[in-house]
């Protein structure tokens, strides 16, 4: 069984926002709803600027799911976190818990009351039997047709990868190996004992973070 993940290679992302546009087009999200965004750090500083495309990361232990008062989230067999808009009450707790700012809310009600939450579905639709209704409520269901999310499919530099976690990380690792050989960073951690200790700690943290 596949476990679906996104991965954004910041060395390749050029902040073109093609993924954002592709997502909006594929899912026909309503005004003000942006399921994917590109964050640029150190914008405009030559040599330092990096961009990363962020959306729902379909966490293994999803915080949104843990805090939802109505339990509207559910994990799929592919490791995706989808939600049922019929059960969503628009309380916003998922937004407060999500590290990635993925949940989006249309402003529908009086006094700033939120509408039903909308977020990236990995182009896997949602819990609705009728395809027309599914498209209207949750957007595209490309996974059903054997296609990957449109954001990743349309990424011009293939910075944004989507698919089975193992395959995606294999591709990424291959890239890093290639870059490492060229710029000499490869193996640096082994040569510097001090740095290596720090790296070990960081790796430990990262491993724990990914597991939790």
């Amino acid at each position: 069984m596949a476990r679906m993940k996104f991965l954004c290679d910041s060395e390749r992302c050029i902040d073109c926002n093609g993924c954002v546009t592709a997502c909006k087009n594929a899912n026909e999200t309503e005004w003000g709803i942006q399921r994917r965004r590109v964050v640029t750090l150190d914008d405009g500083e030559i040599g330092k600027e990096v961009s990363i495309s962020v959306a729902c990361m379909h966490c293994s232990d999803a915080p949104c799911m843990a805090v939802c008062p109505t339990n509207c989230f559910y994990p799929t067999e592919d490791g995706l976190i989808l939600h049922n808009k019929d059960t969503c009450i628009g309380c916003g707790y998922c937004l407060y818990a999500c590290p990635f700012g993925a949940p989006q809310f249309p402003k529908q009600g009086a006094f700033g009351a939120r509408g039903k939450m909308d977020k990236c579905t990995f182009c896997a639709g949602g819990p609705e039997a009728d395809p027309a209704l599914e498209a209207q409520k949750y957007g595209a269901n490309r996974l059903k047709d054997g296609k990957l999310p449109l954001c990743a499919e349309m990424c011009s530099t293939k910075a944004l990868l989507a698919g089975d976690a193992q395959e995606v990380s294999d591709i990424f690792r291959e890239r890093v190996v290639y870059r490492g050989h060229r710029n000499g960073a490869w193996g640096a951690t082994q040569q510097e004992p001090g740095l290596s200790e720090l790296a070990r700690q960081a790796a430990e943290l990262a491993t724990d973070a990914a597991r939790s």
Partner: protein, 354 residues
């Protein structure tokens, strides 16, 4: 932002770390058949030069620029969310159950072991007005909203554990939508009532020497004889100030949470909701005591807030100083009936009265 200024050079690597660790680690960390130690080694090779400094930057919540207009979109990773989740799910939620259950169990135990406070002397049949119509209106307005808000609030916190499994999907959705909307719309009305109540009763609630002695005798539990008390005893004053301070905290945090259209950040909302939950659960746990003392716990107390009048014997026993000040205003049943009839007549025929 401060991290950007301090460590500008690190950010390409921060980003690489984010890309590599956060997004692809589940697969790297759990390779098929490989022990965890190999996963770490693999990660170190995948991300050369990864240090704790990068992690600290990410934990500090680095911000950048984005075209997204949704709140907090410029923050790459908001780490406070996980803390909020822990606080809410591992402390407030179970803590609330312990507080409410403990309070209820304690009261039940007290009731079984000690029992209610009976009137020491038989009723004289003469009544003294204790709570005016305005007092009672405010009290029951606040009380009924408190119960509705408490119930819907508890549903938002706990219902998914016991109600969702037994309700059909549609009913569950409708129930929770109703709970949220009732909670959000009645909240501001509760705030108005609470404010009115505080303003109406605050002048009775300054502590004095009599209250100290009342506390020393535990309100009559310790030692013999009922301690002296004025219009309100020490316990009632304590409840008033709990309602005032905790109540206002709950109301203010509730209003912040209720109107998310003022651009509150996610971090603000997290703290607001924690404060709101903790405050409300404290109030609810304490309210059990108030409800018990006002109903089953004290003979003759409930009629004061129901009819506005208490029996002379009750007043003498529980609020002797107040009784001595107002005993000449006591009226018998017949007078009371007449007064009530007069009131309802004027109420029923306002044109005649005017």
């Amino acid at each position: 932002m401060k991290y950007r200024k301090r460590n500008r050079g690190w950010f390409s690597l921060v980003a690489l770390l984010l890309a590599g660790c956060l997004f692809s680690l589940p697969s790297v960390a759990q390779p098929q058949g490989g022990p965890p130690a190999d996963a770490r080694k693999e990660l170190m090779q995948t991300l050369p030069g990864t240090t704790s400094d990068y992690w600290r930057n990410v934990q500090g919540g680095v911000t950048g620029t984005t075209s997204s207009r949704s709140p907090g979109a410029e923050t790459l990773i908001m780490v406070q969310g996980e803390q909020w989740r822990n606080w809410r799910n591992h402390w407030v939620s179970p803590g609330g159950l312990i507080a409410l259950g403990g309070s209820a169990a304690g009261i039940l135990l007290f009731w079984l072991l000690v029992g209610p406070v009976k009137l020491e002397h038989p009723r004289t049949g003469r009544k003294i007005e204790r709570w005016t119509r305005m007092d009672r209106t405010i009290h029951w307005y606040v009380a009924s909203l408190f119960i509705i808000l408490g119930f819907t609030g508890l549903m938002l916190l706990y219902a998914k554990w016991f109600l969702q499994p037994i309700l059909p999907g549609g009913v569950w959705a409708a129930f929770m939508t109703a709970a949220k909307n009732i909670h959000n719309y009645l909240g501001p009305l509760f705030a108005l009532g609470l404010l009115a109540m505080i303003l109406k009763w605050i002048r009775h609630n300054a502590f004095n020497r009599v209250d100290l002695k009342w506390f020393a005798k535990g309100g009559g539990i310790v030692g013999k004889g009922h301690p002296q008390a004025g219009y309100l005893n020490g316990g009632e004053k304590v409840w008033f100030w709990i309602v005032t301070f905790v109540g206002l905290t709950v109301v203010i945090s509730g209003l912040i949470a209720d109107f998310p259209n003022f651009g509150q950040s996610r971090e603000t909302m997290q703290i607001t909701l924690l404060v709101h939950g903790i405050g409300a659960l404290i109030l609810m746990a304490a309210s059990f005591g108030h409800i018990y003392i006002g109903t089953a716990g004290t003979e003759g107390a409930f009629e004061g807030m129901k009819t506005g009048y208490v029996d002379e014997s009750w007043a003498k026993q529980h609020h002797d100083l107040w009784y001595h000040a107002v005993k000449d205003q006591a009226i018998d049943e017949a007078e009371l009936e007449a007064r009530k009839a007069g009131n309802s007549q004027t109420a029923a025929n306002p044109t005649q009265a005017s």
